[in-house]
Symmetry: C3
Subunit: 167 residues, 3 copies
């Protein structure tokens, strides 16, 4: 096999590995948050990464701010009663050392002997390669409700992912 053919195969494998690693990054947040492993959950972000969690609140700026939120009474009350921060399958596009991804986030809460769907959000993930791992530069959530925030976030992100196809 010629050197350049070998390099092409390796590049194709690396892209698949990147996709796998980014899935691992995104899918580990929910279980870590629901387990109360706040430091692991927060370490999904770059130190100066941002969690823009809703249009109605201030974004959490920096990994430490995400950790602090997860240690707070609000989140701790949720996990004491029973909660699932469920992430749907990821639509991801890798470009070199950056990637943009999109999925749905569902928060389910225990109530009596069943669960209810509390929040259903559109999510955009901007992630970066950081050494051997990938980390979150910015996570943006918007509710899929009458405000139109979720629709707008999906629209903008799909235009970035699909280009002219999405116009």
């Amino acid at each position: 096999m010629k050197e350049d053919e070998e390099g092409q195969l390796e590049a194709r494998i690396r892209r698949l590995e990147d996709e796998s690693e980014i899935r691992r990054l995104v899918l580990s947040y929910g279980p870590a948050a629901d387990a109360g492993l706040t430091s692991l959950a927060a370490s999904r972000w770059l130190k100066d990464g941002v969690y823009d969690w809703d249009s109605d609140g201030e974004p959490y700026a920096g990994r430490a701010a995400v950790d602090e939120m997860l240690q707070g009474d609000g989140h701790q009350g949720l996990i004491a009663h029973g909660v699932a921060h469920f992430a749907g399958p990821l639509l991801v596009e890798v470009e070199g050392d950056r990637a943009c991804a999109l999925n749905y986030s569902l928060i389910m809460r225990r109530e009596d002997d069943r669960y209810f769907l509390w929040r259903v959000s559109a999510v955009r993930w901007d992630v970066e390669r950081a050494g051997p791992l990938w980390k979150v530069r910015r996570r943006t959530n918007r509710l899929l409700d009458a405000s139109g925030g979720g629709r707008q976030l999906f629209t903008d992100t799909l235009k970035d992912l699909f280009g002219e196809e999405a116009v």
Copy 2:
């Protein structure tokens, strides 16, 4: 490396890439539909592809019919109030230029300050390679309710995917 060994590695990489591309195809429908990007959502199908969405209704025949449905009052009313056309993770089997896949589809709707699960369906995807992309030949949905439609669709599809194992 001998030429045939090289070809074998390349074929294994291509199968993984095909799986990734088919996931991308399937997972982009929901966000595009919920964003109101009707043309992008409809372009998941081949021009003469079919969306057989329920046993109680006429299938949408052709990409233009899917686009028209998404532009209609029913769908537009859903997205104005808040809706998620959520696709579960995909079980997929690639055979050359065709693939068969299966997943669950969940439609969640906003109601007061929470969401409810409106439709939970078994889904079968018959997809085909179309140039560098994959497109949908036929999507079939059946509710998992007392009609037994969802059970039958899962049964038939699993027999195609798993052969004798599923008997």
Copy 3:
């Protein structure tokens, strides 16, 4: 390409294929169970594999015990009315011929003209290579409720998957 470089590429491809095969293993249980294909669903397990489905009940020991449970009145009643044993996307770590994976399991049931979330569980999968396929050695479910069972299962599993990162 040198022999060892070729071997390295092949090992990386095999790891990705293993991940794909393990996803296929896990994602086929729900549709098979909901379709009533009890033998296919049970064959996800090794013959002496274990399904530890809740802290309040005896684990099903062996593939035949899983099959028997699925043939029983409880499960058959669920599928007659309409049910989805939905598995969320999988966080998986392969180590040679074994792998550990984690996801959420959601059981949705038909009620009137909609569905409700009956059980939301943390799930840990211990799986093994068995010839060309992978099979389940042990599946452990714990509800994400006030008992803390789900939180503990996620905590223990994330420590196995992420090591010092999760401390």
